[in-house]
Symmetry: C2
Subunit: 106 residues, 2 copies
Amino acid sequence: MRRDVFQAIADPTRRAIIGLIALQAMTPNAIAEHFDTSRQAVSKHLQILVECQLVKQEQQGREIYYQLEVAKMKEIDKWLEQFRKIWEDRFNQLDTIFSNIKQNKP
Amino acid sequence: MRRDVFQAIADPTRRAIIGLIALQAMTPNAIAEHFDTSRQAVSKHLQILVECQLVKQEQQGREIYYQLEVAKMKEIDKWLEQFRKIWEDRFNQLDTIFSNIKQNKP
DNA sequence: AAAATATGCAACCGTTTGCTTGCTAATATA
DNA sequence: TATATTAGCAAGCAAACGGTTGCATATTTT
């Protein structure tokens, strides 16, 4: 069973859950109300998110609040970093070409 | 069959392929040499990457060069944007707390 | 023209995924 | 105390995933 951040965000429902609890911790029931699937299905998604440490739980009586570990999202950002450099370079190259066109350089 | 950028980068081999062809277009055979799997397996991964437009093909004789569509990677970056705002806010909050500690404020 | 090379395609197979249903445990409320 | 609510757990199931093997097609090379 693979369990990393990239596998976690592969599922669209899971991405929606992440977006939902990003600003405010929520209980499984409250989260499930936002979707067409059952509470159990949502619970399984949450379990996966917890396993890869994208989400942490906080018990309050019989309720469990799930909150996003925003810092963990940086892992994706970190992986993206290498490509950001490339796409900025490409953009700069294009910029240079446009400049040359304006100045009628070959 | 789901086929979006997030599902595409979920597989570690696919991420490795993306990293490999990011700087230079490569043929399936050349790519496959970097992995333990068969050429056909790599070919399937490439097909998925093409389907979600993360990679484009360029035929040259009997060889097909696969190149990364760096711009498509921005889609991930775009999704991450909303969380970047949050984690920067959290950092600033921490910063304020530390400042207060230094100044002996409550 | 014949052989070698590069690639895609199809069929098959075990594992994982995402979901459902049914159950149990713990806490809150009447 | 009896009942309702919240949530996790387990079994079962169809579909998707990631891989393999075998074969067909197109282009080079000899």
